[in-house]
Chain length 282, copies 4
């Protein structure tokens, strides 16, 4: 059969270790201690969605004091239902920028359409969500940019397909890509997704790009997040993306999987030891 | 927990049978015998991708004489790898228009970005692929349009999520939506996806929108397409989308799942009997 | 790597079409019009579990008049929880034998341990449930017997593994095997399992053994059973196994997926037409 | 609906923390330092199958010096194909007993039929494989025994179903049960199964039984085993079951996922640190 879809690891080029044998490290310009990879465990924490100024500033201060380098917060949300909260949009981004100014944290926020990029000047890492992992138009446009991209694995995507999606970005010239394992969809229902922990060492062996884990979306349950986070570090992840909310019970989205400030602080103390055992630093 | 994501059937509004108890029928303006639903089994056939004028005209004539009402052909392709054939773009759409002029077939083609809509004047039904089922920006824009939308189920999406995606379109004012079951991703490997045949009666019982089946992508194997197509009709589908290629071995994509003109003609003869048994017409 | 597990179709021997190019037909000795395969659509119907004499006799008469050839009924049940109804055991088998005597129906019942075989004299087809598909000890013992075996596909088993399980039986000398597709486990929840309809033509192309479908367990929903049953016939199945109960609401197991006598009779009238269209007889 | 199958956590009784709030610890009579749970990380290591005396003695000495307490080795094998190596049977058990005598290691071996129990006198922990997790006859018989049971999760079984299977054993009087997460079946193919790491904390929160992880079967790839093993300890597992072979390339089964003696020794050194970080001992 001629011209079949390339779907094997062999058809990959730029994201592989044979193309670039060293580890790609994502460093934020102007905040060089904020990094993902190369021995630094990048901690990205914050709420599912930016809800208002008080909320985002309070959480930013909280995650900063616990030791995070990056604040996450959704402004443009992808929701399964059109009747769910869709995010604050550009206003949400402005509030993130204010939190950055106040805390010095670097910022991660999700883009859902390329035209939103105009709002992303203050955002340090542009997140592509699981549902958009194969939105190739968006990937190509982000590839023409130099801003770092955090690419989440699709819920039904193989790790090879994740690498191919990264290849779309890198093929356009942008090498600043972080891969994020966030669970795959299976028959199991106790957790929101099934965290594919073995994807971490597999990816580390096959690509030079940094690999982080999102234990919050993977498990969907705050009670399971700490164990999943520790496991991710032990499996070799270069970072974690953790949902933290000052008031999970009243969160506008994903409250059930958000850590409280106190439990996040406790987790960070534990994670520090695991990070050191891996020969890395927070 | 307040404000959690609406993910149950109860949160749906406009796509449900309780909102609109009759069957929505998609009829092509100016070609009223080209319909999907309401007792007409809409047959959409053609190649995965438009490759050149000779190819698309030859296939159009073939599927027309076999009894199809709609010609499908991809111009803007979504491919897992950036190194796969990405489609002819606007030129491909022009060739489809030429085939329409010559045969009178109505047209179905996939859109991957809203800005491509300017090319779609001659396209009668705009297809949203499985990977874009939750590209909500695209869905909203198509909802503001009146052109019929063929919405394919995502590979890891539940039928409830498919209905919610349709709700995004309908909520913006466009009721001309066809749902397409095309298989879900499972552990099984003999077929490309696992055709969820029971989704057809479930959807028919829960939504007024027409439901078609794509046995080509579901099975990924031309040898399994006829049985899957017959099963779809027997399960109550309102239409079928079938890949046909004049030269499958040299097709630029999906050759292995494309029927030859001869096998498509044979299948249509068989399908006619099953359609009549269901009290429908081709 | 030496001596790795054989897991490809190539390692199969006796169950393949290359070993035996004709279709294996299961005919019940002494009731030769009760058959599965070879142009006869074998209809197996009855309750999940034998509950008492009145129940099983009433249902037997019902399914007999509707046109079924086989009565099913569980006496030794496999239940996920030890606190669920575990079946009537040997007493249940006796009641089945009484129903056979009264109606002339042939019998299908599930075995869960080889030592139960002593009770199975009057049972014409011994069923191996999905959970036991890879209980190789049981398969081998049944292979030493001549009684027909109905082998259900495991919920997480590939069709190749189903054929390998059949190979265990056939390798011991018993060729009287019926394969049963009953749905696989996926992320989807509207149905109990996901009916893998394309497995039917795939199996028919790759094995000489007859292939039936169990739309009741596959869908787990009586409202979906008729469409799934029709689809199975259209896909080329050699038979159907359908749960029927005279009082589904009070059934001791699987009531929600059991057809009433009336809906089963209606379905049989419809199925007759589909069967004829396939060039087969009931 | 009356009398439906109990499939929720609420229907569980004896395996839950509300029944027994402390941690069940499995201690081997006569070798009290060989334990699983209660602060001891039980390490079970050895080959997939016992192949001959030299092999099993050599591996036993190896895993003993690296710090394992338990030797595993299959004598009665469950293989997908009847043409694969089926194990040495009773002879294999005898060789395990010889290895026990020489090294003092406690023994773990899989049972596939209850009648094999007569061979298991020297076996300290009887393993029930993933394919037999719902072989309820076997579970009930093992429940009447006092020997510890290592119950592996089925490839398509939920954690709730795993607990229900354990309930079958415990309901007969045997509380000496170890649960084993060994990966579930998903669409992903880079690993043999998908290790469900979040099942570890979920189980630890919901049952008093010890929970171990089998990173060898979960990943199916020796290159992924160390990271998966570390992750399991970090996630709170009470033990690990790891395949080790003195000559993986020539192993009669599962060679590709077996660690060499050297890599196992290295891993044990690393695991010791993670175990201590968890406040446990090897």
């Amino acid at each position: 059969m001629q011209n079949r879809e390339h779907d094997s690891l062999e058809s990959l080029k730029k994201v592989t270790r044979s193309f670039y044998p060293k580890d790609t490290v994502i460093v934020i310009p102007g905040a060089e201690d904020h990094a993902v990879g190369g021995g630094t465990l990048g901690i990205i924490a914050g709420p599912c969605a930016v809800e208002n100024e008080d909320q985002i500033i309070a959480i930013a201060n909280t995650v900063k004091s616990a030791g995070a380098s990056f604040l996450r917060g959704g402004a443009f949300k992808l929701r399964t239902s059109p009747y769910s909260f869709q995010g604050m949009g550009g206003e949400g981004i402005k509030l993130l920028a204010r939190a950055k100014k106040e805390t010095g944290l670097s910022l991660v926020s999700e883009i859902t359409e390329i035209k939103q990029l105009e709002y992303f000047d203050e955002i340090d890492i542009v997140q592509v969500g699981a549902r958009n992992m194969q939105n190739f138009s968006l990937l190509k446009e982000l590839g023409k940019n130099k801003k770092a991209v955090l690419l989440k694995r699709g819920q039904a995507s193989t790790v090879t397909e994740l690498l191919m999606a990264a290849e779309y970005i890198m093929n356009e010239g942008n090498e600043n890509i972080i891969l994020c394992e966030r669970g795959v969809r299976t028959f199991e229902t106790f957790s929101r997704s099934t965290l594919d922990i073995a994807a971490v060492p597999w990816l580390k062996q096959n690509t030079h790009l940094p690999v982080i884990v999102d234990p919050s979306h993977a498990t969907g349950d705050a009670a399971l997040v700490p164990a999943a986070a520790k496991a991710a570090v032990a499996a070799g992840a270069d970072g974690l993306m953790i949902e933290v909310h000052n008031d999970p019970v009243h969160a506008l989205c994903d409250g059930e999987q958000s850590l409280t400030p106190a439990s996040f602080s406790d987790l960070m103390i534990t994670l520090k030891k695991y990070t050191e055992l891996e020969g890395k630093r927070l």
